[in-house]
């Protein structure tokens, strides 16, 4: 198993006896030197605004930003770069769709139904719940099975009259990889008019995603979870939909012509990108994709799978430890949520934190799911390309220490 830690400066500043064990990549990922350098280079060498300056450094910046747009389109196999909209993060992307497409398309008089699943992150749940309340229309939630899979049979019934389905590609708590391609294929037979939005925040960093193959209408993800900077995210939307949608934010860079009486708007993607974008963030996303593609997404996926198996096999043996989500590793991405009987998740995380082992505890922005599981909180580890089996082993010995302290 290759060790990528040297590429990530954060891992090179710790003393040997208290090295950083970072197991919270589902919250945000660490950044490789190549990404930091790319941003640095922009600020040091060609810092300027995009799509307005007529001088050389502005030309470079504009060109770089559009290159990254092309690169993202290639990375997720969008048909056209104009289908890639730069936003702040997945949350903003979903809110953009909710505010524009949602406002335009959901009609109380038509009894339009909005559907999400119980395993959504709040960012793909709350906006839709709000839209349903605002439009006084039905909000329907799809269940999961006891093993942590989407209840597909229930789903096909519930989406019959639905206008939109919002569903995650990978659960940030259960780690379940939803079979999005098959799901969409069947849904389109049952309900040809439905619009489908996929939350890919936990998928794009970890596996090859092909939006044309999936045949989704919208797909969203965040840069900071895939080794790029915070503040840059992507909304993919089918061109036809983007053309129909009204703008989201209004201002500079999203217009065609402004007169005192009236404004006409630019085409997508610029229609949705008012104001100066996060140029350094966009450049970091390009460098992040370069880094990941250099390794290869298949290798990234297998690297994580190996770590997951290593962790799973040891965690299963710990007395009083409950694992959530599918038992079958092949249906999971690099997230493991768990609880230890008699110890609150916060206390697990804090004891580990004191050992410089970083894990997450809480409801992971998925309160409906935790309620469904009958728990208030859980502890969670999540792995990425820079993790090693040694990280997992240190984590396991940390868990043993937790059990010692709490005498469970």
């Amino acid at each position: 198993m290759k060790n990528y830690k040297n590429d990530f400066p954060i891992f090179n500043q710790n003393s040997k006896d208290k090295q950083l064990v970072y197991l919270d990549s589902a919250a945000t990922s660490q950044k490789p030197r190549a990404v930091l350098d790319a941003m640095d280079e922009y600020y040091k060498n060609y810092n300027s605004n995009v799509r307005r300056g007529l001088y050389p450094i502005a030309e470079i910046a504009t060109q770089k930003v559009e290159e990254v747009r092309n690169q993202v389109a290639r990375f997720i196999n969008a048909r056209d770069a104009s289908e890639i909209i730069f936003v702040r993060n997945s949350t903003e992307a979903i809110n953009l769709v909710m505010n524009t497409w949602g406002d335009m398309s959901i009609d109380m008089a038509m009894d339009d139904v909005i559907v999400a699943t119980i395993m959504e992150h709040h960012s793909n749940f709350v906006p839709w719940q709000f839209l349903a309340q605002y439009k006084e229309t039905a909000f329907v939630v799809i269940d999961i099975t006891g093993e942590g899979y989407i209840d597909v049979d229930g789903m096909y019934k519930k989406i019959k009259n639905a206008k939109i389905l919002a569903i995650t590609h990978v659960s940030n708590v259960l780690g379940t990889i939803n079979p999005i391609k098959e799901i969409i294929k069947k849904i389109r037979i049952v309900n040809p008019n439905i619009t489908i939005l996929i939350d890919g925040a936990q998928a794009v960093p970890h596996m090859k995603v092909d939006v044309q193959d999936l045949d989704c209408d919208f797909y969203v993800f965040s840069g900071h979870k895939m080794i790029a900077a915070t503040g840059i995210g992507v909304l993919y939307g089918k061109k036809k939909l983007l053309e129909e949608m009204p703008p989201f934010l209004f201002g500079g860079e999203m217009i065609r012509e402004v007169t005192v009486e009236q404004t006409t708007f630019a085409n997508a993607p610029f229609k949705f990108e008012a104001g100066t974008p996060d140029i350094a963030g966009i450049i970091s996303l390009g460098a992040a994709i370069d880094y990941l593609e250099d390794i290869g997404m298949e290798i990234v996926k297998n690297h994580e799978k190996e770590l997951l198996e290593h962790a799973f096999s040891q965690m299963e043996k710990i007395n009083g430890l409950t694992l959530y989500g599918p038992k079958d590793i092949k249906d999971r991405s690099g997230v493991i949520s768990f609880n230890i009987k008699g110890v609150h998740a916060h206390d697990i995380a804090q004891v580990l934190g004191d050992m410089n082992i970083c894990i997450r505890a809480g409801h992971h922005c998925a309160m409906p799911l935790h309620k469904h599981l009958g728990i208030v909180a859980s502890a969670r580890i999540s792995v990425y390309i820079y993790n090693t089996k040694e990280d997992i082993d240190l984590f396991i010995s940390g868990l043993k220490k937790v059990k010692e302290i709490f005498k469970v």
Partner: protein
Amino acid sequence: MEDIVYREEILEHYKTPLNFGKPDKFAISSRQTNPFCGDEIEMFVEFEEKSAGGATIPPQGWKIKTIGFEGVGCVISIVAGSMLTDYAKGKTKKELTKFSQEDMLDLLGIEVSETRKKCALLAFSVLKECLV
């Protein structure tokens, strides 16, 4: 920090918190969840003075006779609930209204990080709601 938070007597306190449970009789109750982790604490308060003739808001001079709490939480939030309910017993509403966040952290006597302050102050926040 682990030595401070997870020392023996704190853990004992966590496992056997004081005033845990719902009293048979109480005049006021309030429940809150910590949005950071979903933990919840419900508190029940009964005053020494008899609630006379339909007064819904207890006067400032009334003393707490019985106080209990229930909930799910980490060591810090449960120990905070335990210590706070014990402290509040016999105190007047006025005294407790003056009791500040800093007082709560002092009472707890455990060094808590910024993120864990929400845990340390959950019970405090529920008690304040009971006293409105």
